[in-house]
Amino acid sequence: MTDPNPPAHADRTAWVLVSPWVLILGLFWVYPFLYALALAFAQFDVFSGQWHWVGVANFAAVLVNSEFWRAVGHTVIFTAGTVPVTTALAILLALALNRRLWGRAIFRAGFFAPTLTATVVTALVFLHLYAQGGYLYRLAELAGIPVPERGFLLSEKTALAAVMVMDIWVSVGYYTLLFLAGLQTIPAELVDDALMHGASGWQRFWAITWPYLRPTLLYALVINLIKSFQVFTEMFVMTRGGPLGATTTAVYHVYSAGFERFDLGYASAAAFVLFALIAIVTVIQFRFFAFGRGAEE
């Protein structure tokens, strides 16, 4: 039985053991967080290091800035377009790869490979594929699919969608792996039982597979949503927020304000507004998608 009142030296030992992590947490998470929070209420001159407190002026500037909200709009479109498609594709692929197929290991590795490749490398490859006269562009032309006058990434109408397609291609392998792991937790006896009782494939999916996949689904949705709200590297490498600001997402907007214009106060305030938005959406997600949790408990 565990002693409810451990001796003091045990406490101290525990503190010594966790102190490296506490130190790292303090130095690299808590301190920057508090520093950024302070910056959000100030104008900061990076060269002289001078602070000038401005109260909530930076937050007000963010909230009335149409470019910030346009960037948030692009982020929402990006998230709404990538998260459901990635999730649905990943579930389908996981179900397929969970069967005893010939070459299953090769397919699993193949789908996962894009996840292992650095985003920058993938983005550079897609830059070539999407270019006017690039392979995808020519393929679409040959297939009679209407193509933009300029390359996919240089057309205002297609640039964001092109980046979304790349993101789905990159991400789907990772989520497939997650769902595959979820599927592995289903007891074989349950499936055998259902088969013996003549349950159809669809019935087996709803009655057995789906309930077991729900925790993985919630995790996948939350993680993917947060990642999508923070999308940046793709835009930085492929479009720099263009053309005409069509791929400027919220984080790119923050980056641009902070590291191109060096308006660190505004950038910090925008980052905190984005943080609040992500927190709200995540809470909503938990409320809506943690369905049936009580019953399971």
Binding site: N5, P7, A8, H9, R12, V16, S19, V46, F47, S48, G49, L127, H128, A131, Q132, G133, E149, R150, G151, L154, E156, F236, T239, R240, G242, P243, L244, F259, E260, R261, F262
Partner: protein
């Protein structure tokens, strides 16, 4: 239950050790574990920090060798080279100044010098510049507020590359490069075909820091400018501004609109009649083994006997931060890097066609080469962006306006008016902040 406290063992020592160690880390970092704030190597040599952008192994090797030579005659010093990239180098430099971890010698893009000088981040190098004045070219970006803040190290301009194979298809046996804007427009349209897929010209779009460089040559050639002479107001809303932007819009219609790397690739693959590009393309063409028959020409005139053949000139400069710990060594190292021999070697490695050193530019290697000589002539009629401390923001506004016109979002007049509104807002906001 009363808890017992242990007074012996390792914990009390740890309690003392941890804060002391933590306090020593920043102290050591601040003082760089050296003497008098100077960083010293384990062999007792003073460290000189040099931040630069050349990462390509062939070029880096040339720079490293030059530095080793300098170290051999200055055994008191050891140079630490830090590589930067153009995509985030500016941010890293600003962050370094903000954190007071500045290098001793620093390579800067031509359009950043005024910004850093205005912020008091650079050492005034007027006396050194005076000594180099007649030996080096490319001074305008280094001058701000009547002082000189950096030494030119590397210069580059853009010329019009011309694919003679495509030209023969449309012009017959003896193709002629365009002398005027009208001829350029006509030739690009004549050369654009669906089958085989060929384009007359490649135009940049949606590429920050690059797009404006393809507009300003036309603006300057037509006699226009971005800012007024005293740099207090936007000067784009003129007949020259309208004419040049309209020309760029007309030129882009039906053409290959892409990023510079893709345009250069298309030229190397024989898909473009014209490519407005720099000396890097000449180097790429030679190394790629491309069988495209090409030549290079200076920018065309706006019309017969009208305007100039101005192109954009960019450059890289050597500056010394005001708070550098080894300014004397930094000046000495800069002098060494700017020697004729080292400038020549740098140009050999980079493929540079316009050496910054005037004596090197006269070398037969440059003067007798048909393409390099075009670059040297074009450099004589090239201009740099204005040395303005707010150029980074002004550049973004300018590119925004050009993009609006190229994508047909705004008419040429409206795009110029909106751009000027943005630029004037930047200039007046900065004036207010100064007050």
């Amino acid at each position: 239950m009363e808890r017992t406290t242990s007074r012996g063992g390792i914990l009390p020592k740890l309690r003392l050790f941890v804060p002391v160690a933590l306090a020593l880390i920043p102290l050591c970092l601040t003082l760089s574990c050296g003497r008098g704030g100077q960083e010293v190597t384990s062999e007792g040599r003073l460290v000189v920090h040099f931040w630069q952008f050349w990462t390509e192994p062939r070029v880096k090797a040339v720079i490293t060798k030059a530095i080793e030579e300098w170290e051999s005659v200055n055994p008191l010093y050891k140079v630490e080279i830090t590589d930067l990239t153009w995509s985030d180098g500016h941010q890293k430099i600003v962050a370094a100044f903000a954190g007071d971890r500045v290098p001793d010698l620093l390579e800067l893009g031509s359009d950043w010098i005024a910004e850093f000088a205005a912020r008091g981040a650079l050492m005034d190098m007027s006396a050194e510049c005076e000594q180099w004045h007649d030996s080096l070219a490319g001074w305008p970006p280094a001058i701000y507020d009547n002082s000189c803040w950096a030494l030119p190290w590397y210069l580059s301009t853009r010329v019009l590359y011309f694919n003679q194979d495509i030209a023969k298809l449309t012009q017959g046996g003896n193709p002629r490069p365009p002398m005027t804007w009208d001829e350029l427009l006509q030739q690009t349209r004549d050369a654009t075909t669906e089958k085989p897929r060929l384009w007359g010209i490649g135009i940049n779009a949606a590429e920050p820091h690059v797009l404006y460089k393809k507009f300003v040559p036309f603006l300057w050639s037509a006699g226009g400018d971005i800012l007024t002479e005293d740099q207090s107001v936007c000067a784009l809303e003129t007949e020259a501004g309208r004419r040049s932007l309209q020309f760029l819009v007309d030129l882009s219609r039906g053409q290959l609109v892409e990023k510079q790397a893709a345009l250069d690739e298309a030229f190397i693959n024989g898909k473009l009649l014209f490519d407005l590009s720099g000396d890097w393309l000449y180097e790429k063409l030679k190394r790629s083994g491309s069988n495209v028959a090409y030549s290079a020409f200076m920018m065309p005139f706006p019309a017969p006997d009208q305007g100039t053949r101005t192109s954009f000139a960019g450059g890289e400069y050597l500056a010394i931060p005001r708070r550098a710990k080894q300014p004397v060594a930094a000046v000495s190292l800069a002098r060494h890097l700017l020697s004729e021999k080292n400038i020549f070697n740098l140009c050999l490695a980079t493929g540079c066609a316009t050496p910054v050193h005037i004596n090197v530019a006269r070398n037969a290697y440059f003067a007798d080469d048909s393409i390099r000589s075009v670059f040297i002539r074009q450099m004589g009629q090239a201009r740099t962006s204005p040395a303005n401390p707010h150029w980074v923001e002004i550049e973004a506004a300018l590119e925004w306006g050009v993009e609006q016109a190229l994508y047909g979002k705004l008419s040429v007049d409206d795009a110029l008016a909106a751009t000027c509104e943005k630029i004037n807002a930047i200039l007046s906001k900065k004036e207010d902040e100064k007050r």
